[in-house]
Amino acid sequence: MIYLRLFYEFFKAGLFAVGGGMATLPFLYDISDSTGWFTHSQLADMVAVSESTPGPIGVNMATYVGFTTAGIPGAIIATLGLVTPSIIIILLIAKALKAFRQNKYVDAGFYGLRPCSVGLIAAAGILVLKLALFNTELYQSTGVLTDLFNFKAIALAAALLILTRYVKKLKDLHPIFFIAASAVVGIVFAF
């Protein structure tokens, strides 16, 4: 029953992903590895589309993954799975908002959760990195070390890093501008 499994997997992501949008990413990689519904490279494309379209990133990714896996019903079920834990938890704590925020166990728990989330997202980032900047398959078949690196991609990554982090005027631009520019670079330089 793919729909039940979809709901369950996204319920899990909604329950354990703390810290917004990107926090769902490690769970999506986990789903990809354990079910084979979609590949790592499809997932990277979904992240790009989710960043460049309206709506919360986490919700967009759930819809996209659900659609890829099981069509329109899949999109709906994955999204409902993702938001169900939120609805339950928020409805439970809404009445005792102050007490929840000031509870020392909640506070201490989140003190440990936040760095965990960072570590998980960084690890998911490594998977995208491997895919985008290195030609692992080509290297395995030729054994030539220079084949391992995708030099065009590495140059683009370096340029983007500088533009998004250190150039004052560009730093605050919406990610969609950088995504669109990267698409153009990809086509022009035949990535």
Binding site: A17, A44, P54, G55, R165
Partner: protein, 180 residues
């Protein structure tokens, strides 16, 4: 009933206008919920937002549930949440449908190869931003690095890390490691 429909429409608008999530949402919520509709005060919004950040799930969804619940109880919470995800469902399904049929065109493949590089950089930027907020002492530094290394090399569900780290956070606070 009318108020439930209002809730749905208001949050569907927030969903359409939230571009990129997170902080991008604050000014839109302020305008739609606080200024236009008077459904919550700015201070309440900040509280919801803060709690939304430190509860599991998508922040925009958590905030929608809070305000819906405040207006119309449980039904309100559910309707507001459905409103905020509705635009994503429609837009993403359309785009996904279109992209699947173009995925094999070489130019589309090249464009996505370029985009993947950009996604790497965006994830890196998200990580450094979250790092500054969450890695505040030696204990959190150790937790973060440990989770990173273990999840790169071992096949363990992220949920397991999340549960263990919450327990570790409570333990570290109890034994006085926090802030050192």
């Amino acid at each position: 009933m009318k108020e439930l429909i209002d809730l749905f429409i208001a949050f569907a608008k927030v969903g359409v206008m939230t571009f990129g999530g997170g902080y991008a949402m604050i000014p839109i919520l302020e305008r739609e919920i606080v200024d236009k509709r008077n459904w919550a005060s700015s201070e309440e919004m900040m509280d919801y937002y803060a709690v939304g950040q430190c509860t599991p799930g998508v922040i925009a969804v958590n905030t929608a549930t809070f305000i819906g619940q405040k207006r119309r109880g449980t039904a309100g919470g559910i309707i507001a949440t459905l409103g905020v995800v509705f635009p994503s469902l429609v837009i993403i399904t359309l785009i996904a449908g279109i992209l699947t049929s173009f995925a094999d065109i070489p130019q589309v493949e090249q464009a996505f190869a370029g985009i993947r590089v950009c996604v790497c950089v965006l994830i890196f930027n998200a990580v450094t931003k979250l790092w500054k907020k969450s890695v505040t002492d030696k204990a959190t530094l150790a937790l973060c690095l440990l989770v990173f290394v273990l999840s790169v090399f071992l096949d363990i569900s992220p949920a397991v890390f999340v549960i263990l780290c919450a327990a570790a956070g409570i333990l570290f606070t109890k034994v006085g490691l926090r802030g050192k």
